[in-house]
Assembly symmetry: D2
Homo-oligomer: 440 residues x 4
């Protein structure tokens, strides 16, 4: 049942639309890891192990020894941004990393300069860019991007490319007819259809060329039928959307716990304060709506109110994101859960998470890039649901409800790796430990 | 592979050593459910469903329709206590349930009177009991308990019995030679060995008669080789220990989340304030030690510091329980986690859980009683690790590390039920949803 | 220097525009206190003492023994509401008091029926009233109110009347020309000027008749030059505005603490979740603006950024109120303060206040009513700044900055009482305790 | 009434027994302020203003312009420590200040080397010192200290000296006969009475020489009759004890707020986690007891349970300090208050204060030193109760209850300064703003 996977040979180019706080934190961390200055903490591909066989077998290889992944030394970063700052300048402005962590990487960071980016004011209202592409049609912009990608690949001598959206959340938009088929989408690109956002142009450019594409924001991007169809035609893996980093990560850790114990939930109030560019962008109601939709969905498939109307049928779920400049990237969330148990008695849980947006997101971006490159080499195409683990709002096969429980997502990821390598899947049954003694 | 399980016919007697807050909350809730006054929220056996087959099959029967479990109408409660109060009096004194929830059950509660209990001041120092057994040896006390059990079974016309320890935490004691074999234990009972605590005498009485025994507190009780051996000889299922209800439940929900994401952990400080009898008992350092040992262990097997020394090798874990009378049963915990991520950047999580001890514990007690009765009818004997889901410090086969991750515990429980009924085990692989389209 | 104060003889009618949660909680508590069923906790007029003389004199009479206040037995409640429910019905619907606390008062509560109220959709958008006055002009409505008041006074045989606004927050409106003089206001009433809100009509009716008026909400109401002028003409004390109960109370307790220690403040984020009618009304942006303005102002005069630009010149202050139905009246606030100290090092304070809106407001309403009645009997007129202690946004003499520090407000209140009774004012100097020994 | 105060001319030597985290943070901050690298935030003597006259007068001079205080440029630091590290080494080890804040001060810090210290294992159990004085009697040690002080004064050309205890908390000890009179104390020093702790030897040395002494820890030190008597004989001001910095500061901010509003208090639970040397010392039960006694007392005089038995008669107050190494100096406190209001309804306040011990304490140490030097120049002697503002457990005249309310303490301090300079005391009465209009 084991599958043929091509070796990860040569260089892997990771191209990032959006070279802001997350992207530069990702790049800095990879550079620092290469130099032995820090550990790539939070990254399954770098530090994670995978249990094989029985609990008592004690077989726990590193994931990167179990499956063939691009080595960090073989990764090359590039990308596009609305501002001309190089990665060194951006890392300093972002306020994520200490100066003392950036300086040792200065020479390398300074060389990473963003290519001109695709911009549309309709999809991003609170910023004033200075580094954008011009072109008569969206198709023309897509072709410029394709040229950028191929140039980068050649110049950097890459054998493989992955494109990973790390830019701001776009203003909310719903799926329309233009997103239905490859043909309608290409027609729309040629006609400047207003429903095609910048992130979709990047996705188109990548997938058209057969390069894996990942969407780290809640935009539609590759999550429309036309893009899925294109990914099948070009044998390209795609995945999204929205890095599951702070509050939503916590929610998909905690909600499965409530569900496991059938503890009822009257309400879940979530607020966030943050002061980085992400916060500034989300201060716009349209952008917030994209994020809100992405964040709101996670409770439903975890709690299954259809199965448990008495417990979860009336759950009031409210999410707020507040721009609060004193915090910069040091985001803080406060969650308040009104729960009830045995005989309807009420209880409360409050969670206060002081996190750092980009620090949590960076390893997810790295893992997604390396795993989707694996998928490409394993000849996997279309939606990679097994990477749901990293996404706030995982893309799935049409009509298939997403799995948001972070633990089921991890098991899905791990069992997928075991499956690809022909190992037994883990079920946690474990009756065999007692086999000679359990049954009378 | 499906197993033969005897039907749950006739009445099931649930006998409780310790008829305090947890026990009376359990009883009141079952009575109220029978009368349709409330739902048995938090109980998998009553409200839980189990997914069978694929996600899209939408087969989610109630667990109690999937396997044969004792019906709540067929359950009869009895027990022992150090105080003479009947269940109605105790429920009123315990301060858990509102008067308006107790009154409709008065007639039934008032009839449930505790039998005289086994007491040893060495193992319980902060209380002054008024309803205790006398006898020259511990074996003599065990025989009195066996007589109590058989009388109760006859008088109440029960076909099956389960014994479930709901009493206070005993003072800490470690395993000694007397606990090594059935023979040494019985010798110790006859010789009044000081290392045999009251809860162990209850466990012996139950298992000797072939009745399943569950330990809801952190005492040694049935967690010694002698008791495991006896349970095999008498074909009896046993399990423990310590109901996993409040803070530890939260810990085994959250720690797997950190581990899943490989987020490092510098320290975890946990404090609890509570003002009920449990708090009073735990104000004694010896009793607190039992609890501390039980609560401390959970992080190790979840975080696996051997595999991740950089992440979890120096985790400082400190637990405090503070007697704080203003709170009564309305316990509150505060947890403070010092975590670190990408490039060693530090973050914090704080959790404030305002819970109600007995409200959380009651459904666990019910499920454990009904599931261990199922095990007995399925001819399962010895340690029932598949019920770890309910325990702070799960008993396992000798030498086998416990599984404390609540999600793996639930999967173990569910897959065990699927296994017993011959259904496919769930692995969350899910590649088949994409089978015709996934691979190029 | 002692002033002549008329005795509090006869009955005092307290008339409440708005007989909702706060009003019925106030009434129920007064009735319960009369019957000895509970204590009027939180009320200075009922339980407060006042220190007289030196610390070592141990003279601490009850305030109500020190100055002549209406006795609770002499208080009669009445009022107006947009809904026809009597006080018993409203108390049950409000979800503030337990049924067991309301039942013993049923006979009295049921008799308190609201008179028809003045309503203007422009000022209150989220409710649909069923008990409103009709009239061609606002002056006509004012005259109906005056008739209501005089009828109530006669029927209940009252010697004195106080009118106290306990209704919802009105949509925000700023001061305009119509509010400039008594003449322009009366012209506006006759002409249905849209800038005259319902609460202003109540205020006009009361003050015109010479009855003290208090504004418990953040509306303009009596806080315009015309109303102040009228209060001087009719020798009437007035005061407002907005009961200082939950989060803002906490803010005016804590901010003086930061200011005392010159601890810098980068930001203060305040969010509230509540699910009562107040929450529903404040879900409307216009009503929220009234509240936001009222809540925002308190930091400025406490922190004095003009004096301390390095500490408070850039304080980012953000306030949110979120309608969250699971909570009902059991409001919860979360405050997050980003502070800095010595050498600019940053620290944080977080406060989580689980309070009950109406429980906190009721004693303030009682005190304000009894103290303003005292003011009337002491021949005091116009703005009663000494009652700032109770107000989120205290009314002051034109051009005089408000004092929001709750401790200075209390000292102002207490020293005013001492002044009225000719006692020494307290300065906390206290060098005299050491006089023979302090100086060399 | 204005007093004669000598000008602050020449250099002021501030001598610190205990040159650890607090002391080096104090010194570093003063050096940085002199160089214009940072502001002395949190210091009333440096940044504080004082209101003079009426609110509308807008007279708010800086305190240091209002009374004559030593200029920071004229301050010289020295001291004693149990370890030989110089101030630069200690600042780096203490983990309070960032390296980048210490480096610019290196040259000056490195020169500040501790003199050998007085040590007694009985009073400090968790440390192993390497820099201690030897001597046959405690009197001999006192004389060595006096020689140290006079040498320092001469070498540094100081006109005045202040001694300020910044060392660890000593093991708890109660007052005994040896502390009764100057004579018994001196006899005890000669006889090595075990009830004389190191901090008392420092206090004796300073006061005997007529130099002001301040006690920043909860030890007895100068808080015994013998020391008060000596301070009168030598015309020396003294004050203590225990810097009021983190959780207790918060408590004396919040408790006056509850008391102001007569909100009842069922319980107040306070826990602290900290990982610095202070935490290590307080892990010893004897040292913790000193701290516990100091921290526990503050609620009593603020809440006055004698006056309000229904509100504060049964308040359960529990304080815990937990050594938690992951935190270092970045202490965190969690407070949980169970309060009740109108009709006995219960509410809760929780406070989470992430503070930095030494950052909060340093400005208090500076202010105390400069103000007590002022007292000396104003010919004030004995206990300086007007400096209570800075103390967890303020020393007072015998039999006089302490004032712990931080706002009354501040008013006492400010009115004392106004009194010394012949300005009107502030009472917050403020009726005069309305004088022509208030009374009918």
């Amino acid at each position: 049942m084991k599958r043929e996977i091509k070796k990860a040979e040569g260089k892997l180019g990771i191209l990032l639309p959006g070279m802001g706080a997350v992207a530069t934190t990702l790049i800095a961390g990879v550079l620092a890891s290469r130099k032995g200055l820090s550990k790539p903490i939070g990254s399954l591909t770098q530090m994670g192990t995978i249990r094989l066989g029985k609990r008592t077998d004690k077989r726990n290889p590193l994931i990167k020894d179990f499956v063939s992944l691009a080595n960090l030394d073989d990764v090359v970063f590039g990308g596009w941004d609305l501002f001309t700052d190089n990665a060194y300048e951006t890392a300093n402005k972002a306020g994520v990393l200490e100066k003392s962590d950036i300086e040792p990487l200065k020479d390398e960071l300074i060389k990473i300069k963003p290519m001109t980016a695709v911009y549309d004011h309709k999809y991003l209202v609170n910023l004033t860019p200075n580094n954008i592409k011009e072109g008569p049609t969206k198709m023309d912009l897509a072709q410029q991007l394709m040229a950028d990608i191929e140039n980068f690949k050649k110049e950097n001598n890459c054998s493989r490319i992955v494109v990973l959206w790390c830019a701001s959340t776009e203003v909310y938009s719903a799926q329309t007819d233009v997103h239905a088929t490859v043909e309608s989408l290409e027609e729309g690109l040629r006609n400047n259809d207003p429903n095609i956002s910048p992130s979709m142009i990047y996705a188109y450019a990548a997938v058209k060329l057969g390069y894996p594409y990942i969407n780290g924001a809640p935009n539609l991007s590759c999550d429309v039928p036309a893009m899925v169809e294109l990914s099948h035609r070009t044998n390209t893996p795609i995945m999204g959307k929205d890095f599951k980093s702070g509050q939503t990560l916590m929610k998909t850790i905690l909600a499965p716990g409530l569900r496991a114990r059938l503890i009822g939930l009257d309400g879940w109030f979530s607020t966030n304060i943050l002061g980085n560019r992400d916060g500034e962008v989300l201060d716009d109601p349209g952008s917030f709506k994209s994020k809100e939709v992405s964040k709101s969905g996670v409770l439903h498939d975890i709690l299954e109110p259809e199965l448990f109307p008495e417990l979860y049928g009336n759950t009031y779920h409210k999410i707020r994101i507040e721009y609060y400049p004193p915090r910069g990237d040091f985001k803080e969330s406060w969650d308040c859960l009104d729960i009830f148990g045995w005989m309807n008695y009420k209880m409360q849980i409050k969670i206060n998470f002081s996190c750092r947006d980009s620090i949590l997101a960076a390893p997810l971006a790295l893992d997604l890039a390396l795993f989707i490159d694996l998928a490409k080499r394993a000849d996997m195409r279309g939606v990679q649901e097994w990477l749901s683990f990293y996404c706030k709002s995982p893309q799935t096969a049409q009509g298939l409800p997403a799995q948001n429980d972070v633990f089921k997502q991890l098991e899905k990821l791990e069992n997928t790796l075991r499956y690809l390598k022909g190992e037994d899947l883990i079920t946690h049954l474990g009756l065999d430990y007692y086999e000679n003694e359990l049954f009378a």
